[in-house]
């Protein structure tokens, strides 16, 4: 049984400025973001992973670097984990841009994000950490639970929160969890996945 552990990057300069950006460089983690990543890596203590992958975007790479310190594996960049391509909305403060605005601005579609994240997941054959972004993670979770963008509106992935997916059975075990609960620790250590409370 393989589990994909998706982490959203920590708080970054783009987030505190309320800017949407798919630029590779320019928005590093803030101090708070680094602390969030360190806290998450502490949650991961004792767990074993076959690999750690990251979006090529700076805030994700920096987060992955901090997590990798605990895991002891060098992160590899995977393009499929990248931030939503923002199109004309790139580097604008359009945080509340609705779907229609995004389509008009040539931003990457929901379907495209779900597809590339699924492709990434299909290649997983051992417990893996992947550092990515809020919308792509949400698109993957929603796709697995068979919900579209409208139906999954209540899903918002927080900074360095933990979203675990059982790859084989396509079961979502957590959605933006703040910690590794005893149940998550058990399933990530090879125990059986029983329902949580």
């Amino acid at each position: 049984m393989s589990f994909l552990v998706l982490l959203r990057h920590g708080e970054s300069e783009s987030n505190i400025c309320g800017i949407l950006s798919s630029d590779l460089e320019g928005y590093p983690l803030t101090d708070k973001g680094r602390i969030q990543a360190a806290r998450c890596s502490h949650e991961m203590r004792g767990l074993r992973f076959g690999g750690i992958f990251t979006s090529p975007v700076q805030r994700a790479r920096e987060t992955a670097g901090i997590i990798a310190g605990e895991i002891g594996i060098a992160p590899k960049v995977d393009q499929r984990l990248i931030e939503t391509a923002m199109g004309k909305l790139n580097n604008t403060s359009a945080k509340d841009a609705i779907r229609a605005d995004r389509i008009r601005a040539g931003s990457e579609s929901w379907e495209s994000q779900a597809r590339r994240m699924r492709e990434f997941m299909a290649g997983i054959s051992e417990n893996t950490i992947a550092v990515s972004h809020a919308m792509p993670i949400r698109a993957l979770v929603s796709s697995i639970m068979e919900m579209d963008e409208i139906e999954s509106f209540g899903i918002e992935i927080g900074f360095v929160s933990i979203t675990v997916i059982d790859v084989g059975s396509e079961r979502v075990e957590s959605i933006g969890a703040r910690s590794i609960t005893p149940r998550l620790r058990s399933i990530l250590s090879g125990g059986r996945s029983e329902g949580g409370a």
């Binding site: 509106f153 979203t163 957590s174 933006g176």
Partner: protein, 196 residues
């Protein structure tokens, strides 16, 4: 079998506006904005064939349920199990952030109702709830319902946000989640209710 349960968190109310968490049942009413949210939902669910609206006994929930009941022409049934979280010593205090994000030890020390308690009463309610029911309740009860259906722990879904006036559509028999915390009705949600 199918058992379609449409959970609705009460509309924006005076306590939400004040950032207050409160166990006062009758003091905090729906704001105009909250009434609009629920009216909006009613318009879009009127052909779901909902037969009844269950509600928490709290004013903000009852008032939301009354709007649905009157718009859809269906009866209201109040149920204690759908009541607000017991906030213990934190009753009538201002809360920055969500109760679900509180440190569990601190919440326990302050006498805040446990997640297990939410699960028990929500499960009890859901097991007897018939098909085509609307259910007006509070955030942690909706989360408990999602947890029961999916097997994801209530403390493992911080990435789920149940806003005032939002819908969460579940099937308790098929163990399916059709929507979480949304405001617009999708074609598929519509279709779910036209199947028998």
């Amino acid at each position: 079998m199918t058992r379609r349960l449409l959970f609705i968190r009460h509309g924006e109310s005076e306590s939400n506006r004040l950032g207050l968490i409160s166990n006062c049942r009758d003091r905090y009413h729906l704001l105009e904005e909250g009434k609009e949210q629920i009216n909006f939902i009613s318009e879009h669910i009127h052909n779901f064939g909902l037969k009844v609206v269950y509600t928490s006994p709290y004013a903000r929930a009852r008032e939301s349920a009354e709007i649905i009941s009157s718009n859809l022409g269906i009866p209201i049934i109040a149920d204690e199990r759908l009541r607000e979280t017991d906030y213990g010593q934190l009753n009538n205090t201002v809360m920055v952030g969500r109760v679900i994000d509180m440190d569990p030890e601190m919440a326990r020390e302050r006498g805040v109702e446990s997640l297990e308690s939410h699960r028990l009463r929500t499960d009890s309610f859901m097991s007897g709830c018939p098909d085509r029911s609307a259910i007006v309740t509070h955030g942690l009860v909706v989360r408990a319902a999602v947890s029961i259906i999916t097997g994801i722990g209530q403390d493992e879904m911080g990435g789920i946000h149940i806003r005032p006036g939002s819908m969460t559509l579940l099937d308790a028999d098929l163990k399916k989640v059709y929507s979480i915390g949304n405001f617009l009705v999708s074609g598929r949600m519509q279709k779910t209710f036209s199947l028998d």
